[in-house]
């Protein structure tokens, strides 16, 4: 029961952080304070919270499971590629978003798109596509919370109650603390992730009598030796994975978070230290996932959790339970982002704030947090997790394909709203098409693939055990390239609908 008690203590702590953030606001009722922490986050909270915002449950838990199944390639696929792409995106796009937000008062990317391209309903469509791609993350988090509480309490807390408790806690601190509370909780979570990885490697290594023998043993076995190389995947597949981290800056919660720094200078440390944080969190996770093959009775799921349970003392296993809970609760930023987007891009845009005032806007945002969490909980109780696992998988590709919108808005004066519309429609259609394909074509056995489209004997689209592939690459590559081409071609064809000179002068 000790692990369950520690997890409940952690839940109480994060709820208190929300209450503390609420009190720190001292009755402020303006939207900018609630949704963006008054654009006043300090450098340490900005760095750690940004890392925490990007670390989904998958980064911390799923990475070890992926490494267990696929080997060391997991780190190169997802860790080191993110360590390069995400900081560069923060430097090129994030700093511009921050400045425009400060200058013009934008609180969401859609507000910027509407202003930049002088459009109304196209902005609403972008909001809708972003929201649809984001919701599955929130449902997955509720499911993860239910499962984790059930596991750490040895079944004493049933799944439905675990999901409800986690939903209530996340809803509580987002509802009360807004961006400030969410950023503080994310900071705490990142500190836990950063310290836990090193401790877990040390404890498991001691328990296994060192890793040298384990590695030699893996190399000696033909079953496990390939896991220490990248033999099982192609260089093209590896290359295509570098398009996935592009999604980070296009996620609305990341775009919105870029607006919270007090000074643009805070991006500097974040850009430089982000790769170090990736190294500290992903390397232990991937390494332990691989080495778990040499531990007894370790199944593929929750590898790190089970390794520490097997080798760590009870108190450490209990702390791990809290860290796992922190990982599955990473949906807080998405909930707050959707609330911000709804109140700014829909409520305010269609006249709500003008008619009812800013205090009502904040109350609407809080009500949206409640409605969204309750809806996600209701869905989580009924739907199978596999559907949402697939949905989140393709949401990354979808947001990568929306990146050309940001690039065009910030750096290309010739882009038009019709180009933005074409890119958005393409992204929605492509995500849907891949999801349908995944659902309709059965998964072939590992190492085999089914040809879906071929031209002159060459396979164009195939279904493999790792998912749908286009020319041997992840669908994210053609999705992003076509999105960028549509932005360019359609904008050139509709050059007459370029924004006015006055608008362009605000951006270039």
């Amino acid at each position: 029961m000790i692990p369950a008690a520690v997890v409940f203590a952690y839940l109480a702590l994060v709820l208190y952080i929300g209450i503390f953030a609420f009190r720190a606001r001292a009755g402020a009722s303006d939207a900018e304070d609630y949704f963006l922490a008054g654009r006043a986050l300090g450098p340490a909270v900005f760095l750690l919270s940004l890392v925490g915002t990007n670390m989904t449950a998958f980064s911390v838990l799923g990475a070890s499971g992926h490494a267990f199944a696929n080997g060391i390639v997991t780190y190169g696929l997802m860790g080191s590629s993110s360590a390069l792409i995400i900081p560069v995106a923060l430097l090129v796009i994030g700093t511009r978003l921050w400045a425009l937000g400060k200058r013009h008062g934008f609180m969401t990317p859609v507000q910027m798109f509407r202003d930049r391209w002088e459009c109304r309903h196209i902005g609403t469509l972008i909001f809708a596509v972003q929201a649809v791609l984001l919701v599955p993350y929130i449902i997955i988090a509720v499911m993860g919370g239910g499962t984790t509480l059930q596991t750490v309490s040895s079944g004493l807390v049933p799944y439905w109650a675990g999901g409800a408790i986690v939903s209530l806690v996340v809803m509580g601190y987002v509802f009360l603390g807004g961006m400030r509370g969410t950023a503080w909780v994310n900071t705490l979570q990142t500190v836990m992730f950063l310290t836990f990885g090193t401790i877990a490697v040390w404890v498991v290594g001691s328990g296994m009598g060192g890793f040298r023998a384990a590695m030699e043993s893996m190399l000696a076995s033909p079953d496990t030796a390939p896991l220490l190389t990248r033999d099982r995947i192609s260089p093209w597949y590896f290359f295509s994975y570098t398009f996935i981290p592009l999604s980070s800056i296009a996620f609305p919660h990341m775009g919105i978070f870029c607006l919270t720094a007090r000074r643009v200078g805070y991006f500097r440390k974040t850009i430089v230290l982000y790769p170090i944080c990736i190294l500290a969190i992903w390397l232990p996770s991937v390494f332990l996932g691989v080495v778990a093959h040499q531990a007894t009775d370790i199944p593929g799921d929750n590898v790190v959790l089970r390794l520490v349970e097997a080798y760590a003392p009870l108190w450490l296993a209990a702390l791990l339970g809290a860290a796992v809970m922190a990982a599955v609760m990473a949906s807080d930023s998405q909930i707050l982002a959707l609330s911000t987007m709804f109140t700014e891009d829909v409520f305010t845009f269609y006249g709500g704030t003008r008619r009812f005032g800013e205090a009502v806007q904040v109350r609407t945002g809080r009500l949206f947090v409640v409605v969204l969490t309750v809806t996600a909980y209701a869905i989580a109780l009924r739907a199978p997790q596999s559907i949402f696992d697939i949905a989140t998988q393709y949401a990354f590709a979808g947001f990568s394909a929306l990146t050309p919108l940001l690039v065009a808005a910030l750096f290309w004066a010739g882009s038009t709203r019709w180009g933005a519309l074409a890119s958005t429609l393409w992204t929605g259609a492509a995500v849907m098409a891949v999801a349908v394909l995944q659902a309709v074509v059965p998964v072939p056995p590992a190492g085999e693939s089914v040809t879906i489209v071929s031209v002159a004997g060459a396979d164009i689209i195939t279904r493999a055990s790792v998912g749908t592939l286009v020319l041997g690459m992840l669908p994210v590559v053609p999705m992003t390239v076509v999105s960028a081409l549509l932005m360019v071609i359609v904008s050139r064809l509709t050059a007459a609908s370029r924004p006015s000179d006055a608008t362009l002068a605000r951006y270039f």
């Binding site: 860790g79 390069l84 190399l219 260089p235 790769p275």
Partner: protein, 71 residues
């Protein structure tokens, strides 16, 4: 010129990430435990941090820190 240098640094890092040269090798085990492919990418991550320090020095958009007042 500094912008070109920054772009070049990022391009070189991107190329270094596609390390086909350690594709099928696990040995040597760095520190006796890390397969060379994993050790390479761990080192790549550290070098990325250092390189980005140089990049932000080269092309830091300092002018953004004094945004014009909102209307």
């Amino acid at each position: 010129m500094t912008r070109l240098l920054a772009v070049l640094i990022v391009a070189v890092l991107y190329a270094l990430h596609q390390d086909v040269w350690f594709w099928r090798e696990a040995r040597p085990l760095v520190f006796g435990v890390l397969p060379i492919g994993l050790a390479y990418h761990a080192l790549f991550t550290l070098i990325t941090s250092l390189a980005l320090w140089a990049v932000v020095r080269l092309v830091w958009p300092a002018h953004l820190d004094q945004p014009r007042a909102r209307p």
